[in-house]
């Protein structure tokens, strides 16, 4: 018995029941489309998170005030103020490989100009900050190291802040009152969009940290220090040296916990992508359930079909079909239904993700590997759920089958 003629026989049988074949395949179509779309959404979110992590800058080490013993990076933020300006200067001076350091203080406050006002975030930074973040200006110029040394009343502002206060006018050269201190706007940043936490990164005012500490926020400690090293392979060594340096400067005896937290960009990326990986897995599993339900649909229909076609099976056996021919025929029918359903499902899934990204603005990413996996899985579903009905058909006794009413 040749595979060619069995294939021919199976396809003829499917063609005889077009409506039923289509409806059976529909279960698989929906299952595969759901898997493709859901995994596409998950991967899209992951890619977006990765892009945003990359926008933190290359080879960046972040040092936060206060200690955290938990693995999550966010719990360490806003801890006790233990980082001093001198700590940042010591890092800049003593740690090899460091090419840029930015002292950071953060606050939120009301800002005003003319008759407009807006509640926004104030970031105090060094002149290196925009280079570390790879954040160019759309208009104007950045503040300089001299501005930082002199605590000048200058700032650059984000796109959102600019449009809220000045509308369509150019804010460069205008005066912005922050806590009643007039700051001159030197430049407007290029838009960066939403962060991984959904915060609008363009709703921001960045000024020299010295100005922020003296004139706006007050206090003498830094929230964190951003450090950039020149080479990616220096990042671990630099991180260790920063820890040693800060422990020494803070007089922490061996065995005691750090009073600061050091994270590098890779760790932040890992934490963030772990979240989206869980989301992808979750979405994929839920969609996978519908694929399994589709498979059960195939088994159901194949079992009904075996019963309904008992006489046909008997006739085939009478004219010389082996049990294995019948088994192969029903398996091919099941696999054809599931794999044709799989191909159509992949097309629908890609279409659904396109619609989601264009109408709901969800980023989606469909990788070739997810298409291959979805197709293989749908074919496997056909074999798995088709095998039992096919074996049942093959085991029929030809005499009984011929007499079946």
């Amino acid at each position: 018995m040749k595979v060619g003629s069995t294939l021919n026989i199976a396809l003829r049988a499917l063609r005889r029941n077009k409506m039923r074949s289509v409806l059976t395949a529909l279960g698989i179509i929906i299952g595969v489309a759901a898997v493709i779309a859901m995994v596409g959404i998950g991967n899209g979110a992951k890619a977006q998170v990765e892009a945003q992590i990359a926008s933190l800058g290359e080879n960046v080490i972040l040092i936060f005030s206060g200690s955290t013993t938990s693995s999550g990076i966010r719990t360490g933020w806003g801890g006790a103020g233990t980082l001093k300006i001198e700590d940042a200067e010591a890092i800049r001076r003593e740690v090899p490989g460091v090419i840029a350091v930015s002292e950071e203080v953060v606050s939120t406050t009301q800002v005003a100009a003319g008759n407009q006002n807006w509640f926004t975030r104030i970031y105090g930074e060094s002149a290196d900050y925009l280079d570390i973040r790879q954040w160019p200006l759309a208009d104007g110029a950045p503040f300089t190291a001299q501005d930082v040394r002199s605590s000048n009343k200058v700032c650059v502002i984000g796109k959102t802040t600019a449009s809220q206060i000045y509308g369509n006018d150019s804010p460069v050269g205008q005066v912005l009152r922050i806590k009643n201190v007039p700051f001159t706007i030197l430049g407007v940043l290029t838009p960066k969009g939403l962060s991984t936490q959904g915060v609008d990164q363009d709703d921001i005012v960045i000024m020299p940290y010295t100005s922020a500490m003296k004139r706006v926020i007050g206090g003498t400690t830094l929230r964190n220090i951003n450090v950039q090293v020149g080479q990616g392979n220096e990042i671990n060594a630099a991180q260790q040296q920063i820890i040693a340096l800060l422990r020494q400067r803070h007089n922490i005896r061996p065995g005691r916990d750090d009073d600061f937290t050091v994270r590098n960009q890779q760790e932040i990326a890992d934490a963030a992508t772990a979240t989206t990986a869980v989301m992808t897995l979750l979405l994929g599993s839920i969609a996978g359930v519908s694929l399994v339900v589709g498979g059960i649909g195939i088994m159901n229909i194949m079992l009904v079909s075996v019963t309904e076609r008992t006489r046909e099976i008997g006739t085939r056996m009478a004219v010389g079909a082996h049990g294995s021919d019948i088994l192969t025929q029903f398996l091919i029918e099941a696999v054809t239904l599931s794999s044709v359903g799989g191909v159509i499902g992949i097309i629908f899934g890609i279409g659904a993700s396109q619609i989601l990204s264009s109408y709901a603005h969800w980023p989606t990413l469909i990788s070739p590997s997810s298409i291959i996996v979805a197709f293989m899985f749908s074919a496997a579903v056909g074999i798995f759920f088709g095998f039992y009905p096919a074996r049942k058909a093959a085991a029929l006794d030809p005499i009984e089958a011929l007499r079946y009413e």
């Binding site: 018995m1 046909e312 009478a318 004219v319 010389g320 082996h322 294995s324 011929l402």
Partner: protein, 253 residues
């Protein structure tokens, strides 16, 4: 070639075990059928004629005894070997036609070829099926589905299917059971023509008048052969047909 006998049954028994009771359906049948014979196997229901037919058709194996078909002992072959013999040497015609629904006459006739050992192209399949359909008078109806054909036409498709692999024997199980009397005679006419061409036919029937179209009648009772005689006053389908008032029996049902 052999000595002319195509079927040889030697003391064949068949016993079914249903629960605690053993049913002796066939209890010692010896029968020899020559090449080119037309045998009607008769008997009341429960006489064992269907069981014997299943054994002759290689659908079932005897519990004891030997069955030699075309010089080969087929009594103890396994399922797959029996399937091959059914495909190569036997053709089946059933009471209820057993055509595949929603399938053209041509594709129904091609069915045994698909399970054969020779690999034929679809053009060869088509050519062969169309030739056999033409020989049973269904030329031009190759693309009709069973639902578009009358009972007599459906049975002709089934006969074409039985003939397509050039079998040694055509086995017919109550071939006229679902047909009106005129169509029955037409089908007998086809059988007589095939028999004239040298094809061996074994037919189960319980209708005495249908049995008169055969050359030999074997009557069974209680699992044994009661009578085995040549038909003396044989009916000729072509003459009988003229006696029946001509009606349009070939209108599709």
């Amino acid at each position: 070639m052999n000595d002319g006998s195509v079927v040889k049954l030697m003391d064949v028994h068949k016993t079914y075990h249903t629960g605690d009771v053993d049913v002796h359906a066939v209890r010692g049948v010896s029968l020899e059928i020559q090449r080119g014979e037309f045998v009607a196997l008769m008997g009341a229901s429960g006489s064992g004629k269907s069981t014997l037919m299943n054994i002759l058709g290689c659908l079932d194996r005897p519990t004891s005894g030997r069955y030699v078909l075309d010089d080969a002992d087929v009594s103890q072959l396994d399922r797959d070997r029996l399937a091959d013999i059914r495909n190569h040497k036997l053709g089946f015609v059933f009471q209820s036609f057993n055509l595949l629904p929603r399938t053209s006459a041509r594709e129904n006739v091609e069915l045994p070829l698909l399970y054969g050992t020779r690999h034929l192209t679809s053009a060869q399949l088509r050519q062969k099926a169309d030739a056999v359909l033409g020989s049973v008078g269904l030329g031009g109806r190759e693309d009709h589905h069973p639902s578009q054909l009358s009972g007599g036409q459906q049975q002709r498709v089934a006969i074409a299917r039985a003939l397509v692999n050039d079998p040694e024997i055509v086995l017919a199980d109550e071939p006229t059971g679902n047909l009106d009397s005129r169509t029955s005679v037409e089908i007998m006419g086809i059988f007589q023509q095939l028999n004239e061409r040298g094809i061996t036919i074994i037919m189960v029937t319980h209708e005495a008048d249908i049995a008169t179209y055969a050359r030999r009648n074997v009557v069974m009772r209680d699992g044994l052969i009661l009578k085995d005689l040549q038909v003396t006053q044989r009916s000729d389908a072509s003459i009988e047909l003229e006696k029946i008032a001509p009606i349009d029996s070939e209108t599709p049902s």
